[in-house]
């Protein structure tokens, strides 16, 4: 099987030659340096022969000035096209997304008109998808599966701008500012999803973290009021263009409470199934007919603190249980943090690939 065939087969819940795999959301900087010095290679995805490649929209031509929203910023701060300020921390790994701070440009806004007037990026502009089409064609020529990234779809993007605490208070208060902000982001995400579908993406990767390791971040009722309908619209928009595009949804934490809802709005694949708080085998039993599972190897437990043998055991156990009949894509549950032993990454890849021999 080619990588692309393997991904499409497994994620449509038919038996592949072996489960497809990737390295999830990549390597932290220190981990990438270790990789390069240990292997002499440059790109871990090519070196380990992962089955997918990710694509993002091309760069924007806009140069929006957010200084009026952000005020003075510490040295080394980078402001992205949404206006979110990425502030360095004392960590030596400060350029790694999990170890930086944020300044939220909409924190002090008050009215619906403020939200309506906020300068959102042109993430929906057609010119930004010309490089996406080319990248996907190249990925397909190499017989790999193309995964188009629509992560931080609505909720996370909104709270990055507003701050999580402020946005959750807005939800509690029924603040029209939040309605307007979410609707404006959703409209852009709809266009983005349709561009991806037209460009030939095999998988569109949606995602909003709404779980904690003890259950939902917010009540299911609040999620259904504020987030589910908007996520549903962005999924339906992609399916209008290409009915068979695979819909991947990422949320950290335990989101068991909304799995039936996610299936109901068209999610095919759930990620990352953190084994520290969700039981992959129980989920396979409950939803395996309708849902595929992507991830399942813990970056909070086995990857950093287990031995290579522990990694091999966990991978084989997942293949025997969750992998039966297809529906399993093996991956670390998140970014491979600096303290993960390199041997554990090698053990992960070798064990998955060994299954096909």
């Amino acid at each position: 099987m080619t990588s692309r065939e393997r991904v499409l087969t497994a994620m449509r819940r038919r038996q592949p030659d072996r489960p497809p795999f990737d390295l999830s959301f990549g390597f932290s900087t220190a981990q990438l340096e270790t990789f390069r010095s240990r292997t002499g290679a440059d790109d871990p995805y090519d070196y380990f022969e992962v089955d997918t490649r990710m694509v993002w929209p091309g760069p924007t031509r806009l140069t929006t000035d957010f200084s009026g929203y952000l005020g003075p910023l510490p040295p080394g701060t980078v402001v992205d096209e949404w206006g979110l300020a990425h502030v360095p921390t004392s960590s030596a790994e400060g350029d790694h997304a999990h170890l930086e701070g944020y300044r939220h440009p909409m924190l002090r806004l008050e009215s619906e008109a403020d939200a309506a007037g906020y300068p959102l990026p042109d993430i929906d502009a057609a010119y930004r998808y010309e490089p996406v089409r080319e990248a996907i064609e190249d990925i397909h020529r190499r017989n790999l599966a193309a995964m188009a990234m629509l992560e931080c779809t609505v909720f996370e993007r909104a709270w990055y701008l507003r701050s999580m605490e402020r946005l959750l208070l807005d939800f509690s208060d029924g603040n029209a500012l939040a309605t307007t902000l979410l609707d404006r982001i959703t409209e852009r995400r709809i266009a983005q999803a349709q561009h991806y579908a037209r460009c030939g993406a095999d998988v569109i990767a949606y995602g909003d973290d709404v779980g904690t390791q003890r259950g939902m971040l917010m009540s299911v009722q609040m999620w259904r009021t504020w987030l589910k309908p908007r996520l549903a619209r962005t999924i339906a928009a992609a399916r209008d263009v290409r009915p068979d595009v695979l819909v991947f949804y990422h949320s950290d934490g335990d989101v068991s409470a909304i799995i039936p809802d996610l299936i109901g709005i068209g999610v095919d694949i759930l990620n990352p199934i953190q084994p520290e708080c969700m039981d992959p085998v129980a989920l396979k039993r409950a939803y395996g007919e309708r849902l595929s599972f992507w991830g399942t190897i813990g970056t909070q437990s086995t990857f950093p603190f287990g031995s290579p043998d522990d990694v091999r055991r966990e991978v084989r156990s997942r293949i025997d249980t969750v992998g039966a009949g297809g529906g399993l894509f093996l991956a670390p549950t998140h970014v491979i943090e600096p303290e993960v032993p390199f041997e554990n990454i090698v053990a992960f890849v070798d064990t998955v690939k060994g299954e096909g021999r």
Binding site: S91, L168, Q213, G215, P338
Partner: protein, 219 residues
């Protein structure tokens, strides 16, 4: 004023805080103070039980983060009226706790929930914020006289800073002056034991109970 109406004012305030109704909480506080109720009694009989109840509802899955945030906002609306009337030291009924997210880690939402429940639960809280270096925790004990140090981390990477912080407290010779408690998604009881912490809690409400136990109070 009779006992019944006193009790009902307390009950209204307590319920307004649990329900996250900031305006109602402020109005009930004003009415209670105008009726001659002691500020200390409002704290002990309305605010602390209200935040304990919010924490209990969070722990058993009826409340989520937004419900805790609105309860904390209502608590602050009431405290803003009460705290100026309390004599200085009386504010720290249960003890003084310095809390922060450890060095290199900016994740503070979980830590902020613990702060809100501790403040509501009768502690004086020194909130050190996020990305807090070990020496700042040392100063909180040595200079500010914290009885408890609370350390938070979201990542396995930064969790290791908890150990460095405990060691810094030891090297500064103040480890015996304060209890150390730890929490955050990757943290476990086993890890807490390994680094020599005095306690671990797996959620915000449990952290308050733990802090009270360490201060010799029943949870």
């Amino acid at each position: 004023m009779n006992a019944e109406s006193t009790g009902s004012l307390i009950a209204v305030l307590r319920q307004a805080v649990i329900d996250g109704q900031a305006k109602e909480a402020a109005a009930a506080t004003e009415r209670a103070l105008a009726a001659g109720l002691a500020p200390r009694a409002l704290v002990d009989e309305a605010l602390i039980p209200a935040m304990d109840e919010a924490g209990r509802l969070f722990e058993c899955g009826e409340f989520f983060v937004p419900e805790l945030l609105v309860a904390a906002r209502a608590l602050k609306a009431s405290q803003a009226l009460i705290t100026p009337l309390l004599a200085g030291s009386a504010a720290a009924a249960f003890g003084r706790i310095a809390i922060g997210t450890v060095k290199g880690d900016m994740h503070d939402i979980g830590k902020n929930l613990v702060v809100a429940l501790l403040q509501g639960g009768g502690f004086e809280v020194i909130d050190l914020g996020a990305d807090v270096p070990p020496e700042r925790f040392v100063a909180a004990v040595a200079v500010d006289g914290a009885d408890i140090v609370g350390l938070s981390a979201l990542l396995t990477t930064t969790m290791l800073q908890m150990k460095a912080t405990v060691q810094a407290l030891e090297q500064a010779g103040v480890r015996g002056s304060a209890k150390v408690i730890v929490g955050g998604a990757p943290v476990t009881q086993r890890f807490a034991d390994e680094i020599g912490a005095d306690g671990f809690a797996d959620n915000a409400a449990a952290a308050v109970a733990l802090a009270r136990r360490l201060m010799g109070r029943t949870a």
